[in-house]
């Protein structure tokens, strides 16, 4: 009787993968928890999310635009990061700007990952002409340096948050496509794919339920570090004047705003830059932790 329930459960879990997947996730979580750097990164990200929630609740756009204070006040108890040349409180502006960097990083990489994985999986699975065509297109796009491509995209589409995300995402697609293709190529010839073919599964289903999940770990690790990279690229584009339109307090734009005043008010570009670096660092060490956690070579 009990044996029957187990089988039933397995069946309802869909190929019995439910329990196994959880235990694998649990294993990964366990090794991330043991990795000090990864935990530190995770904690910092949680703090950033709390900052976003706080700024959504308590800091309004009017707040960050208010010019009631004296201008160029150095950091003090009242204004922890000082005030800018227009008398706006930098601390509030930096906290308010947290949402942009994080949203840009996560959404751009998320979108790039979805498109890139589809492109890479299709190319790797079908091979031949499809593969050739997709990968050549990929080569051509990735041969344009990403910052230059981003600049052109923002110029064409106009300055906005959405367009900045597109500008950051497009070059990242190529990275995901290449990695996915490589991992699909390694699993394509495996017996379980042959088996899936033999039982008459459709190509699409084989790709996304058999092939992609088995090549997922490098994709996840790349995605994590790519978020850090995307945040840097977005901030760089903002710094060059191709970011979200002013007066949005995006971090890169804040650094750029303080640039001409660096001699008299260095804190204006120091603090937002510090936040960019800390956020990118958090994603980088998380990526490192995930790599260690997912790398079978390092296990046990």
């Amino acid at each position: 009787m009990s044996k029957d329930t187990v089988t039933m459960k397995n069946r309802s879990g869909g190929k019995g993968s439910g329990k196994k997947a959880r235990s694998r996730a649990g294993e990964i979580w366990h090794s991330i928890r043991r990795n000090k750097g990864a935990m530190l990164g995770l904690i910092f990200l949680c703090i950033l999310i709390l900052i976003i929630i706080y700024s959504l609740l308590f800091i309004s756009f009017e707040d960050i635009m208010s010019m009631d204070n004296e201008s160029m006040l150095p950091p003090s108890r009242e204004h922890p990061f000082g005030t800018d040349d227009m008398g706006r409180d930098l601390f509030k502006r930096v906290l308010y700007g947290t949402r942009y960097s994080l949203v840009i990083g996560v959404v751009a990489v998320g979108a790039a990952m979805i498109i890139g994985v589809i492109v890479g999986a299709v190319a790797g699975y079908f091979g031949g002409r499809v593969d050739n065509l997709l990968m050549r297109a990929n080569d051509i796009i990735s041969s344009i340096p990403s910052i230059l491509l981003g600049m052109v995209i923002v110029t064409v589409l106009g300055q906005s948050l959405r367009n900045l995300i597109i500008a950051v995402a497009v070059p990242s697609i190529c990275v995901f496509a290449r990695i996915t293709r490589a991992s699909v190529l390694t699993v394509r010839g495996q017996e379980y794919v042959e088996a899936a073919k033999a039982i008459g599964m459709s190509n699409l289903r084989i790709i996304f339920s058999e092939v992609v999940p088995n090549g997922l770990s490098p994709i996840i690790v790349t995605a994590t570090t790519m978020i850090g990279n995307a945040i840097t690229v977005a901030a760089s584009l903002s710094f060059l004047g191709f970011g979200v339109p002013l007066p949005t307090p995006e971090w890169g734009a804040l650094v750029s705003g303080g640039r001409s005043l660096i001699k008299i008010a260095p804190y204006l570009s120091t603090f937002p830059g510090l936040f960019i670096m800390a956020t990118v660092l958090a994603f980088n060490i998380m990526g490192d932790g995930l790599r260690d956690a997912l790398d079978p070579k390092l296990k046990r």
């Binding site: 050549r136 051509i140 600049m151 060059l240």
Partner: protein
Amino acid sequence: MKKYIFKRILWLIPSIIIVSFLVFYLMDLAPGTIVDQMISGDMTQEEIDQLYRQYDLDKPVIYRYGKYMLGLLKGDLGKSQISGVSVWREFIKRFPNTLILSIGGLIVASIIAIPLGIFAAKHAGSIWDNLSTTFTLFGMSMPGFWLGLLLILWFAYRIRIFPVGGASSLKSFVLPIISTSLVMMATTARQTRSSMLDNLRADYLRTARAKGVAERDVINKHALKNAWIPIITSIGAGLSRTLAGSAVIETVYSFPGVGKLTVDAVTNRDVTMATGCIILTTIIYVLMLLLVDVMYAFVDPRIKAQYASGSRRRKKGQVAG
């Protein structure tokens, strides 16, 4: 090998056509034209129309692109729509500056990163290893423009040993080179460490030690030789990335290189200058990646063997047989 290089260079042609089409077409689509910036209040409609005609703006984009491509076929990248200078001449004038930044960054990065990576790998797990890992993580995460500003603040305004920007003296290259090298340094040190670690664990090193090879030679001759390939990849990728990233660093330092030229051209909607710069940067970028690939073959005989033509392999097989 030669065939492979030839094929890769041949591939540049469709790439250039597509890249130029993308950039030219996209830039042309962008709201606002070059003429909009020239129009002043006291111009008559006729004068404005005249300007439009002068820049072929009364004709479809495809006409302008066709004209541009015809010029490109003859090796003419056109003239800047704003200053009227030749795109090619301006690019070539500024390219050495950018090259010095990239190569300088590469040298500084390699001199520090490779010994650091080897040291960290040799003492894996020690406090020195942790310190170097922390340093590389910070280096990787620091946005170039921010580091640039901090360096300007400290070394140009506070201590005043280097100029704020420009490229007038040798000294003005120092800060941009440091800014360029940091990310490369960090990634190369990490790559060196992990690649050395992989090799230090390998069986052939145990063999080398067992047969009595001195520890220094074990590292320098045996381990490093095999660890080179990923390190070169990392440096090559870093070098091409600094070329691409030169736009940011050069803007921070108002440095007269091709990166700043491109940024200014895109900002001012100078379609021919922007397209020309991006095409040329892309060509250099692709050639650089090709150079890295070719260098593998020199470092790794296994890869060289792959390139060897089939006939040669057959001959060898006959000899061996």
